[in-house]
């Protein structure tokens, strides 16, 4: 038996291989057709415009790894965005960090309701969050009374959380990077993070190992809600507009980024580096399409096709890797 795998087979066996190949292909096509995408400002703008998706993807990841799914995050985003924007515009003299705390708290509350339903009352995650999606979206309307908020109603210090540039990067990107690092570390290196993976791999064996699945699922759904709430506040700060319909079907994009990034929809698998690459890929695709004149109607179709292609390629490489591992094991015996 060979102990040392060749460099090539290790590369192609890696879970992110399919993803990186697609990313490189897209970059090459983009470089040929629209070279302007590689200007630093365009690149930063691209990440800034898609940062909300990145935050939602991190949120969704926490839930998907437990083997669940949360389709209410788009509605939480809208609800929290409406709450913070409305009360901010009514109390303009309150310092803006208060609204960040409000966003985190309201998001956490929404997530806790989800966690209660899924973790303790054992409702199937898809259905529980489908129900709360309706509820939060309706509450967003109730709080907003169907009103629009325009840039002049939104204070500059509130907007600065997303748009003010620190060391060349806007605040929203710094927050996104911070979340990538914090939750990447949290998932990979803390006991609590590893418990999330354990639950997702097998509930029975993690229960035998003494992990309380209700608690873990409750907490990860609560964290997911909190991140979605933060995304809601930053969305309204970034675009300086708010209406109760924002963020509809964002959860689908977030799920797509997660699965593209190698997070297994059945739970127990997935790493932050994959999600980061998938996020960049997704941003590239949307930006690239919007730069091509007359192609904006194509964006949905192209995104759908690319997700199917990339996920298919990912599954294909994973199957190949598993087959190879099985073969090696049988040779060993």
């Amino acid at each position: 038996m060979k102990n040392e795998k060749s460099f090539v087979s290790r590369l192609t066996g890696s879970r992110n291989f399919g993803l990186v190949v697609v990313l490189i292909i897209i970059i090459i096509i983009a470089a040929i057709i629209t070279p302007s995408i590689f200007k630093p400002n365009t690149f930063i703008g691209m990440i800034q415009n898609n940062a909300v998706y990145g935050l939602l993807a991190v949120a969704e990841m926490l839930v998907i790894i437990t083997g669940g799914i949360d389709i209410s995050i788009g509605a939480i985003l809208a609800f929290v965005g409406v709450v913070t924007t409305r009360y901010m515009s009514e109390n303009m003299d309150v310092p803006s960090f208060v609204w960040v705390l409000v966003a985190l708290a309201v998001g956490l509350l929404c997530g806790m309701v989800n966690g209660l339903l899924v973790g303790y009352l054992h409702i199937v995650p898809m259905i529980a969050t489908l129900g709360t999606m309706y509820i939060y979206r309706g509450m967003a309307f109730l709080v907003s009374q169907g009103k629009w908020w325009m840039p002049h109603q939104i204070t500059e210090s509130y907007q600065n959380w997303a748009v003010k540039k620190i060391a060349g990067l806007p605040g929203i990107i710094w927050i996104l990077i911070l979340m990538f690092i914090i939750f990447g570390f949290f998932l990979a290196y803390t006991t609590y993070g590893r418990r999330i993976y354990a639950i997702g791999t097998s509930r029975e064996s993690s229960a035998v190992a003494g992990i309380k699945d209700s608690v873990v699922i409750f907490r990860s759904m609560a964290l997911c809600g909190m991140l979605a709430g933060l995304a809601g506040m930053l969305y309204t700060a970034n675009y300086a507009t708010c209406v109760y319909t924002i963020g509809s079907s964002y959860e689908m994009t977030a799920i797509a980024i997660c699965v593209l990034g190698g997070v297994s929809i059945t739970g127990g698998r997935g790493r932050m580096d994959g999600v980061v690459i998938a996020f960049i890929l997704m941003s590239f695709i949307t930006q690239f399409i919007s730069l091509l004149p007359g192609l904006s109607v194509w964006s949905n179709a192209i995104q759908g096709a690319i997700i199917i292609g990339a996920v298919g390629l990912n599954f294909f490489t994973i199957h190949q890797a598993e087959k190879r591992a099985l073969k090696e094991r049988s040779e060993l015996i």
Binding site: A128, G131, M133, F141, G146, I255, A256, G304, A305, F316
Partner: protein, 348 residues
Amino acid sequence: MAENQGNVRDLTADEGFKLGSFLKSWEMVLVYILIVVNITLMAVRPDLYFTSGTLQSIIQSGMDVSPLVLGMVLVLMLGDIDVSCASVMIFASMCTGLSMDQGIPMIPSVIIGLLGGVFCGFINGLLVAYVGMPAVIVTIASSMLFRGIVEIILNVNSLKNFPAFYVNISWDNLGGVFPLSLLIFLIMGAFFVYLLQKSRFGRKLYIIGNNATCGQYSGIDVKKTKLIVFMIMGLMSGIASIFFVGRMGGSVSSSMGTGYEMNAIATCVLGGVSTNGGKGKVYGPIIATLIMAFLTYTLGLMNIDANIRKIVTGIVLIIAILISNFRDASDARKKSLAAASVRTQEAK
């Protein structure tokens, strides 16, 4: 243990009709809910309730998602999910509309629309069954793809040239009393009851939903069955396009019908179909479709805004699931108690 082996347990299933358990079954609970909603409506607006045409229009308003519900039952039965069905519905209506614009006669155009739906279902099924990708992610991506194709072809235009009978199906009453859409829905429902409960194909779905590996080893071609189910879902989305376009007064544009897939899934779940697969009947979702129609209409009559109705829908959904969860849990407890008593008797 040796002396126990002579003591053969009674394994014959008790299939006799029991009135008590029938009255407590989930389908009957749904009927009670439907009656309660009806009484509420009657009490709130008696003048309107007894006016001719109200009941018919309530039922008609709920029928536009009904074919999606029937197809979704089969998909959920497998433990899969299809969130692309609303996009497929729009895709199918576009196929019909475009071929009518090309001057193709009515019947072939309708068939082209249905085939368009089946084709979309075929792609979904191929990716789910034969490539082995999870259904959630396949259908999220394919819903973007199909709706995207409609966006490319129609851009901001809308198609207006549809067969005249589309509108008749959605708005006419048979003999002025019985909604035509309800009749068609019930006929399709009866067929699906047969398909799922009585046919060999339907029983296969229950086995796959409960345990796909077990199904594979008992000689079921799981991949082929999944493919067929997704194609049926596509066909039902095509049929839904007839109801939907008729309901919209015979026009379609690319932005229509978003969120219908969630309504269909919610209705199925309210009807007692488990999203884990292998559990549920067709009767439940049929009654749940009517409940949803009456609920929406009643709340609308009370001058409650559409967005607040969403909150009510969500709460109803969650409460329905909680009730059925508790029932399952208490059933399981009863069964385990019964099994324990059997064991103690055997031990004696």
